[in-house]
């Protein structure tokens, strides 16, 4: 996730996105993705910038953003680890994978490792039930996790 937005024109790309919808209010979710990318997280400043860019009330922007798990996150570490703990992954051992994360990185759900490298979120089904336990690290899917495999995978992320 990239830090600090470019100073002059935040969310400049939204003009193009707005054209994909009959009303600019519908561009809110893509705008929130874009703001998250530019600001690193959906801080009050980021939400205000989105509201200004789309001429929407700030409270409405915040309300919508907070509804969605992927937008309703505070500041995260450099990488966001989302581990599925739903039934299919659970019966295949997601619990032991979580234990390993805590032991190895001190990561607990909702927390960030001390070095700021990883943040952990437990998540609902991510559609990899045939290869569970599964996780997303940022936008990369990793499956068939075990206590060993997960550290091996995570070590690839700086």
């Amino acid at each position: 996730m990239s830090p600090a937005p470019s100073a002059e024109k935040p969310l400049a790309g939204l003009e193009e996105i707005k054209k994909n919808y009959p009303a600019s209010s519908a561009a809110l979710m893509p705008a929130l993705y874009e703001a998250r990318r530019q600001f690193g997280w959906l801080s009050p400043e980021a939400l205000s910038a989105v509201a200004d860019a789309l001429n929407l009330p700030k409270a409405a922007v915040r309300s919508t953003a907070s509804f969605y798990g992927m937008f309703n996150q505070g500041k995260t570490g450099r990488h966001l680890v989302r581990i599925c703990t739903n039934v299919a992954c659970m019966v295949l051992g997601a619990g032991s994978v979580l234990e390993k994360l805590e032991a190895r990185y001190g990561l607990t759900p909702g927390g960030t490792s001390r070095d700021g490298r990883f943040s952990l979120a437990v998540t609902e089904c991510i559609g990899a039930c045939d290869k569970g336990p599964a996780m997303l690290v940022d936008d990369d899917m990793h499956t068939d996790l075990t206590g060993e495999r997960i550290t091996e995978v995570l070590e690839r992320y700086e």
């Binding site: 969605y68 703990t85 739903n86 019966v91 039930c129 936008d139």
Partner: protein
């Protein structure tokens, strides 16, 4: 057996437009475009195609309602918000055979004289977004798409799979279900008549248009024709997605296609249609998997996602995790779902932790009974029915669990 959804799946380049064309892709669209929109709708109606999202509503009829509404612009939205736990069938289409969906959308847009198409894609499917976007670009490049088709990424809210919640979300709002009527076919996206079809539903269209409704009707069962994707997970030897005719039995799916229970153990329970579908005990696995039959067996086909639990699995824990899911995904609009799902979860949690009490099972039945039928949308019903059916089929396990700390879990 014909496989028209994921037939080409073993080809590593199946997602490439050239490969898709080679296998006959986009000919159905060309044919559909040469037909009057009404005739396309007629063909779909004749095919008996039923929506693959879970409710099994006849697709042709849905289209007709939208087509008959005098208002314009109309919209076609693909529901690719596959979030039902245990379900990963649409992801396979999106990542490995995206053109069958795009072709299906183009057919729908033509049939409905729609102005735009949207694919509402789960936020948790970044891979699918990449392959889909590339496929859309390629389809434009090759001149197959004469309308704007956009991907709209969801952001982690299961309820957006409900079609009115999906529309709210697409309009940039909180994904909470709308009052019905009006139905989306009359007043959907920004008030325009809107057809929302599941990925798999739309992916059926190229075959129907290319081979004709009559050929389609020969597949599957008479009331539920066509192939169905069955994603199988849990304690089986070969988990994965299987494209089989509607009406294939649960037994065949589990024991033949998915290779049977892992490590030769006994089957304890199976959920036949994603987590919202009532759990079934092993003596019900001769159930043919189609919309009508599964209901007769006391569950529902739902997404067709088969979740298999072997002997040794703690079903209290499974039920607890399922309720935790519903609690987490409840949108909060209506009272019984918002307050009741968490209550059920908390009772299950104490039973699971060995702190269950006398009367807890009855309390759960009562609370679930108070949710069922009283909620705004089906999410609450699903939660209640999960709780009620686990108790119904496995009551003694729940009773035994009261006062017992079970921290063991079946990891096979």
């Amino acid at each position: 057996m014909i496989k028209y959804l994921l037939g080409n799946i073993d080809n590593p380049n199946a997602a490439e437009i050239e490969e898709y064309e080679k296998a006959g892709g986009y000919r159905a669209l060309t044919k559909a475009l040469s037909m009057e929109p009404e005739d396309v709708i007629g063909e779909v109606r004749k095919s008996g195609l039923r929506g693959r999202g879970g409710a099994g509503f006849p697709t042709g009829m849905k289209w007709m309602f939208a087509a008959n509404d005098p208002k314009f612009p109309k919209y076609v939205i693909c529901n690719a918000d596959e979030g039902e736990p245990g379900t990963f069938k649409d992801r396979h289409i999106l990542e490995k055979n995206p053109h069958v969906l795009i072709e299906g959308m183009a057919i729908a847009v033509h049939a409905l004289k729609a102005e735009r198409g949207y694919i509402y894609l789960r936020g948790e499917y970044p891979e699918a977004e990449k392959s889909l976007q590339k496929a859309i670009n390629d389809a434009y490049r090759k001149g197959y798409l004469g309308f704007p088709l956009h991907i709209h990424r969801g952001a982690g809210a299961y309820i957006c799979g409900e079609e009115t919640a999906l529309i709210e979300s697409l309009e940039g709002k909180r994904g909470q279900p709308r009052l019905k009527p009006p139905f989306p076919v009359n007043a959907g996206f920004f008030g325009g008549p809107t057809v929302i079809n599941n990925v798999e539903t739309l992916a059926n269209l190229p075959f129907i248009m290319a081979s004709g409704a009559d050929s389609y009707l020969k597949i599957g069962s008479p009331e539920c024709p066509g192939n169905k994707l069955f994603p199988v997970s849990g304690h089986v030897e070969r988990p994965g997605v299987f494209e089989l005719p509607m009406g294939t039995t649960l037994r065949e799916i589990i024991y033949e296609h998915a290779g049977g229970i892992k490590n030769g153990r006994a089957l304890k329970a199976v959920i036949p249609g994603g987590i919202s579908a009532p759990v079934l005990p092993p003596d019900k696995i001769d159930c043919p998997m189609d919309f009508v039959s599964v209901q007769k067996y006391g569950s529902m086909l739902g997404s067709g996602a088969v979740m298999v639990f072997a002997e040794g699995t703690c079903l209290v824990k499974v039920a607890w995790r399922a309720l935790k899911f519903f609690e987490h995904e409840s949108c909060g609009k209506c009272t019984p779902c918002r307050e009741g799902t968490g209550w059920l979860r908390s009772i299950l949690e104490r039973i699971e932790n060995g702190q269950g009490r006398e009367g807890d099972i009855e309390l759960m039945e009562d609370v679930a009974g108070n949710i069922a039928g009283n909620t705004f949308c089906p999410l609450g019903d699903g939660a209640a029915s999960v709780a009620l059916n686990f108790i119904r089929h496995f009551r003694s396990e729940f009773e035994d669990h009261i006062g017992t700390d079970c921290r063991k879990m079946a990891v096979l």
